[in-house]
């Protein structure tokens, strides 16, 4: 029954035992974070002290933590341990402005490895597997998380990192990798390239399983990856503020991602009112990190919209399952694994002489890759009657965007008033990937 379960003790707890453990860990975490100035202020402002939490229901009394809190306490203000206990720093994948910084103690790194080992095991990764990691190694948590998880399981890790698709294919083929770690769109890029090279992607490689993350993806995309690469494609969930990958992951039942509730307490709230929603309702996922030492966050607003299911899974785990994220409660876009806020693009447009920030962002998945098109309304200041100058202007904008947001966006000039005028930011974005 539980041959695919890494930590049966914690993944199959009876709910009442799980809840007892959660409460105990929550209360101990609250005692620790109460010394962090940001939480000291937050608790004082909401008139609450860690001693007031007697049940998990009392959690609703606790204040939320937001990305803004991390920004305001940049870089290390939210850390709950002295730097001598921190052995690793990571940060968010956003490339402009101040990133959000997180730290790990030695125990945190061990715990993180264990969490990743759980979902990799759930996806079928075994000690005799060869795991090819095509996430970029760096400040981003993705590559290191999967790297440590796979090593803990005892698999052989190929720390390939990103880029150079043909070389990736050569290594995948020659080193006989059986598990692939990358973004879902990159999996299709690999399939495309293998086909172009004149091979059948279903049989060319030794892959049997893929662990994909870093960007939102649909069930259709899963089916396409599975068909074209002839592998099992699994999803997992995490965010750099809360450990990175390892918050939740799918088992082979593929009925949602099991949240590792002995480490994280999930809640679903109404993003407008902040009220906790009843079981099964769709809303914003809020996570409380009840094990981490270096930077445990209380009721962190992930801004990801999803739904939780508590009924027992056929795999034997008792852990709650979250659905694939269905969008965001803010306007952040995740494109090719890069976090982009429309305001970043707005700032870049503002900086260009004569450019008015009448713009719209169109995100699509073309074939295998996410594309971002920025439609900018033309005005007399940025309209030239010489094609050479007009094109140079477009190229200059594209270059500035690439430098600042770390991603190639196509600039499309449109006529004035081509972009519908609405109140609010949401209309600035047309994301055709969520369906």
């Amino acid at each position: 029954m539980n041959h695919n379960i890494w930590d049966p003790l914690h993944e199959c707890l009876e709910r009442k035992d799980l809840e007892r453990l959660q409460l105990e860990r929550l209360r101990s975490t609250l005692e620790r974070v109460a010394k962090v100035p940001c939480y000291k202020d937050k608790f004082a402002a909401s008139g609450i002290s860690p001693g007031d939490i007697h049940s998990l229901d009392d959690m609703a009394k606790l204040p939320f933590t937001t990305k803004e809190d991390l920004r305001q306490n940049y870089p290390y203000g939210m850390f709950a341990v002295p730097m001598r206990d921190v052995v690793r720093i990571h940060s968010s994948s956003g490339t402009t402005g101040k990133p959000t910084v997180v730290g790990y103690s030695r125990k945190d790194l061990d715990d993180w490895s264990g969490l990743v080992a759980r979902f990799m095991t759930a996806a079928g990764v075994l000690p005799d597997d060869i795991v090819h990691i095509a996430f970029g190694y760096g400040l981003f948590t993705g590559a290191f998380g999967l790297h440590y998880g796979a090593e803990l399981i005892g698999s052989a890790v190929i720390p390939m990192s990103g880029g150079n698709t043909e070389r990736q294919i050569m290594i995948l083929k020659d080193y006989e990798a059986t598990a692939l770690v990358c973004t879902p769109s990159y999996a299709l890029t690999l399939a495309d390239r293998i086909e172009k090279m004149g091979h059948d992607p279903r049989t060319y490689l030794s892959l049997k399983v893929g662990l994909f993350g870093g960007e939102p993806w649909s069930e259709e995309l899963r089916r396409e990856i599975e068909k074209r690469l002839n592998i099992v494609a699994t999803d997992n969930y995490g965010l750099s503020e809360i450990v990175g990958p390892g918050v939740a992951g799918e088992c082979l039942c593929k009925k949602g991602m099991h949240i590792f509730e002995d480490h994280f307490i999930p809640e679903i709230i109404d993003p407008e009112t902040g009220k906790v929603l009843p079981e099964g309702e769709k809303g914003e996922l809020v996570l409380t990190n009840i094990v981490q030492e270096a930077i445990p966050l209380i009721r962190y607003r992930t801004r990801d919209i999803t739904r939780l299911h508590y009924d027992k899974c056929d795999c034997g785990r008792t852990l709650v399952r979250m659905e694939k994220t269905m969008g965001r409660s803010d306007d952040m876009l995740i494109i090719k694994g890069v976090n982009v806020f429309p305001t970043q693009i707005e700032e870049i447009l503002f900086q260009v002489e004569g450019c008015e920030p009448h713009y719209q962002l169109i995100v699509e998945r073309e074939g295998t890759l996410d594309t971002l098109e920025v439609q900018v309304e033309v005005n007399e200041n940025i309209f030239f009657d010489e094609m050479r100058k007009q094109r140079a202007f477009v190229e200059m904008l594209e270059k500035r965007l690439a430098t600042n947001i770390g991603l190639h966006a196509k600039i499309k000039l449109v006529e004035p008033s081509a972009i519908p005028r609405h109140e609010g930011k949401a209309n600035r974005i047309i994301d055709k990937r969520y369906k």
Binding site: F384, D385, M387, L413, V414, E415, P416
Partner: protein, 143 residues
């Protein structure tokens, strides 16, 4: 001796060119010459009209982005090599031509070519120095 031209930004979608023509026609503006440069996304339409100010105002009111630019109307002998002689003059003086297009009417048997230069005044001086005939706006519209 410069002539005013208007340039209009046009998105590459059906009906936009017709819309320009309709709006100008309704205001009684006559188009005397035109050129269109386009990419897959957008085009730049350049027009010589009999009333630049009215055309610019009308198009703006109808939501178009319009700029006024200065071009030079050059009389070119309608013979083989006629255009070459003029381009050679410009080339020797290192005057850069951004673009050019033909005017619809002729002047006393000569063709009229509209030139857009980077440095208009310099270009006019060069052409005048070589005795090339340049037409004024008034003259052009009366053709």
């Amino acid at each position: 001796m410069k002539v005013e031209q208007i340039s209009i930004f046009i998105e590459n979608k059906s009906g936009r060119l017709a819309e320009v023509a309709r709006v100008l026609g309704e205001k009684g503006v006559n188009i005397r010459a035109l050129s269109l440069a386009d990419t897959s996304d957008f085009g730049i339409l350049r027009l010589l009209v009999d009333n630049t100010d009215v055309a610019q105002k009308t198009l703006k009111e109808n939501g178009f982005t319009v700029n006024k630019t200065e071009v030079v109307a050059v009389e070119v002998p309608d013979d083989p090599g006629g255009l070459f002689n003029i381009l050679q003059v410009l080339d020797e003086a290192e005057v850069n031509v951004e673009y050019m297009y033909a005017f619809v009417e002729r002047n006393a048997g000569n063709a009229v070519i509209i030139f857009r230069f980077d440095e208009v005044d310099n270009a006019i001086a060069v052409l005048n120095g070589k005795g090339v005939s340049i037409l004024s706006g008034e003259k052009l519209y009366s053709l």
